[in-house]
C-alpha cells in the first residue's frame, strides 16, 4: 500500500486528493475530491499523467508574428518538452483558422497540435 497526494487540476477548486495505491500501483481509493473528475484525475496521474500543451508557432505573412496553438487533447506529461521542441520548429503561413491541425500525431503521441485562434494576413 502507498499513499500519494495530488492537487486536482481539473477545475479551479483545486481539491487536495489523497490517493491510496495497492502493491501493483492500482488506485484503491481517492479522498478529498468534490466530484468524479477528481477520481479520474487521480487515476490518470498515477498511471499516465497528461497535460494540455499550449504555446505559439511562428507565422509568415500574419497580422501577428506568432499564432497560439494547443494540443487538442492532453498529451503525456513526460513528452511535453519534446513536443515544445517540435512546435518551435514549425512556421505556418497566414491565414490560419481556429482548430486547424498544424501537426498530426505530434511526437508519436496520437495527439494533434491545433491553432487556437483565427489569424488573418498582414495586408
Amino acid at each position: 500500500m502507498e499513499e500519494r497526494k495530488f492537487i486536482c487540476v481539473s477545475c479551479p477548486l483545486g481539491c487536495g486528493l489523497n490517493v491510496t495505491l495497492d502493491d501493483n500501483g492500482e488506485v484503491v481509493s481517492v479522498t478529498g475530491n468534490n466530484c468524479p473528475r477528481g477520481y479520474a484525475y487521480a487515476k490518470s496521474e498515477v498511471k499516465d499523467p497528461r497535460r494540455v500543451f499550449a504555446s505559439t508557432v511562428r507565422v509568415r505573412n500574419g497580422k501577428l508574428p506568432v499564432c497560439p496553438i494547443r494540443s487538442k487533447t492532453p498529451a503525456p506529461k513526460e513528452k511535453l518538452f519534446e513536443i515544445a521542441e517540435e512546435v518551435a520548429k514549425l512556421e505556418v503561413i497566414a491565414p490560419i483558422k481556429i482548430g486547424q491541425v498544424l501537426i498530426h500525431n505530434v511526437c508519436g503521441t496520437d495527439v494533434d497540435i491545433v491553432a487556437s485562434r483565427d489569424l488573418s494576413c498582414c495586408s
Binding site: 504555446s55 505559439t56 511562428r58 485562434r117
Partner: protein, 416 residues
C-alpha cells in the same frame, strides 16, 4: 447616426462582448462595442493556456478559443464592433462619449445607455517601492505574456517572479516551455495569491521553488537587470536581517495584483468604491449614474472569466432595458455590507428586482470548516475552507429579498 446608439459598450473583452449579447437579447436595436485594440477579445487574446470556460461550456478552453465562441454569438446577434477606437473622454453632465479612430476621426457619441467594461490593469513596479536601480528586464507578468504569446519576443533567459497571482504562475510555466529558467516565485504574504491548481500545474510540475513570506528587497544592474536580493519578511512584512540572498537573473516578472481600470469612470463622475477600486453598483450592475452600467474586472477583479461573462450579460440586458425605458427609476436601494472576515464584495446594493450573486473575498485564509452567510437569514452555505485567492459567493433570490425586505444585507464568512 451617432446619436442613434441604444447601448454603447466600452471594451471588447469578455465582459463587453457578453454585454453586447445581453443588450441584443433584451431587444436593443443599435448596440455598439468600442475597442482600442485592432482585434476583439481583450486580455484573453494573450491567455493562450487552457482553463477557461469549464462552467460555461463544460470544457476547458484557451483564452482565444473562449472568446471566439462569444464573439461569434455577438456577431450572430447583430452587435456592431468598432475596433482601433479609443475612448478618451466621457462628459460628466451630458455623458457624451468621445472617441478617436483613424478613419472616423473624432466623434461624440450620445447613446441612451453606457456599459463600462474596461477590465483591469496590473499593479506596476512603482506601486511597491523596491530599492535599487531601474534597469531593463523588469515587466509585469501580463506584459511579458503579451510579448511571448502575441508579439513573439522572450523577455529574458533567467527569471525571478515576484508575487503569486495567477498570471505570474502561468508565466513561470510559459517561460520554462520556451526554454528559459525560472529561479523561483516569491510571495510576501503567507498565502498564495493564485489558485492552488496553478501552483500544482505551473510550479510543482517543473520543480519551480515557491517561497511564501519572502520578497524582493533590492534590484541590481545598470542597463540590464543583473540580479535581485530577496529576503524573508516578519509578520509586519518587514524584511528580516540576515535572510537576504542575492539571485542572479536578467528578468523580474511582477504578479502583484490587479486594479480595476476606471479612468473613464472617474471622468464620468460615477461613484468609485474605495476598497474594490471599481464603480459602486447594484445587482442590476447600474452605477451611481442610472444611465451608466459596469461589469467584469472594471467592477471587482474576478477569479474566473465565466463570472465576468455572466456579469457582462446582466449589465448588457439592464442597459438595454434602461435604453428602452423599461427600467424603473424608483428602484429599491438595500445596502450590502461586509462582515468582519470580508475584505471586499460586489454589488454594494440590491434592488430585489433580480436574483443576484454577491461576490466576495475573505481578509485572510480560514483553513477548516466555515460558512458563508447573508444576514438576516437570507443565505447560508458550508465551506471546507475560505481563501483570499478564491472568491466566495452568496446567491439570493429576488422573491426572498422582497419577502424579507431587509434594511441592509450583511455578508460574511464565519469559522465553524
Amino acid at each position: 447616426m451617432n446619436n442613434n446608439i441604444d447601448v454603447l459598450i466600452i471594451g471588447a473583452g469578455p465582459a463587453g462582448v457578453a454585454a453586447g449579447i445581453g443588450a441584443k437579447q433584451e431587444g436593443a436595436e443599435n448596440v455598439v462595442v468600442l475597442e482600442r485594440d485592432w482585434d476583439l477579445g481583450g486580455i484573453l487574446q494573450q491567455c493562450i493556456h487552457p482553463g477557461f470556460g469549464l462552467r460555461t461550456f463544460r470544457e476547458e478552453l484557451t483564452g482565444p478559443e473562449y472568446m471566439h465562441r462569444f464573439i461569434q454569438q455577438a456577431h450572430d446577434a447583430g452587435v456592431e464592433f468598432r475596433t482601433n477606437t479609443m475612448v478618451f473622454q466621457i462628459d460628466k453632465d451630458k455623458n457624451s462619449v468621445w472617441t478617436m479612430n483613424k478613419e472616423r476621426g473624432i466623434e461624440c457619441l450620445n447613446p441612451k445607455s453606457i456599459v463600462l467594461t474596461m477590465g483591469c490593469r496590473e499593479r506596476p513596479l512603482g506601486a511597491i517601492r523596491i530599492p535599487g536601480t531601474r534597469p531593463a528586464g523588469i515587466y509585469t507578468a501580463g506584459t511579458a505574456q503579451r510579448f511571448v504569446n502575441m508579439e513573439g519576443y522572450m523577455p529574458g533567459k533567467k527569471a525571478v517572479i515576484l508575487g503569486s497571482g495567477d498570471i505570474g504562475l502561468i508565466m513561470a510555466r510559459r517561460m520554462i516551455w520556451e526554454g528559459a529558467e525560472v529561479e523561483g516565485v516569491y510571495e510576501v504574504m503567507s498565502w498564495p495569491g493564485g489558485l492552488r491548481r496553478n501552483i500544482a500545474q505551473c510550479l510543482d510540475d517543473y520543480g519551480i521553488p515557491f517561497h511564501l513570506k519572502t520578497t524582493v528587497t533590492k534590484i541590481h544592474g545598470k542597463d540590464r537587470l543583473e540580479g535581485v536580493t530577496v529576503a524573508e519578511v516578519d509578520d509586519k512584512m518587514n524584511p528580516i536581517k540576515g535572510t537576504e540572498r542575492f539571485i542572479e537573473c536578467d528578468t523580474l516578472l511582477l504578479a502583484i495584483g490587479l486594479i480595476p481600470e476606471n479612468e473613464l469612470s472617474r471622468m464620468a463622475g460615477i461613484e468609485i468604491h474605495p476598497v474594490t477600486g471599481g464603480p459602486v453598483v447594484n445587482d442590476l450592475l447600474q452605477t451611481s449614474n442610472p444611465k451608466i452600467f459596469a461589469a467584469g474586472n472594471v467592477v471587482i477583479v474576478y477569479d474566473l472569466v465565466d463570472n465576468v461573462s455572466d456579469e457582462g450579460l446582466i449589465a448588457g440586458k439592464n442597459a438595454a432595458k434602461y435604453a428602452l425605458g423599461k427600467l424603473s427609476n424608483k428602484l429599491k436601494k438595500i445596502p450590502v455590507k461586509g462582515g468582519e472576515n470580508v475584505r471586499l464584495y460586489s454589488p454594494q446594493f440590491v434592488t430585489g428586482e433580480s436574483d443576484t450573486i454577491i461576490y466576495m473575498r475573505v481578509t485572510h485564509p480560514i483553513e477548516g470548516a466555515c460558512k458563508v452567510v447573508a444576514e438576516p437569514g437570507l443565505f447560508t452555505q458550508r465551506l471546507r475552507y475560505a481563501r483570499p485567492g478564491e472568491m466566495n459567493e452568496v446567491r439570493l433570490k429576488a422573491e426572498q429579498i422582497q419577502a424579507k425586505n431587509p434594511d441592509e444585507i450583511i455578508v460574511d464568512i464565519k469559522p465553524l
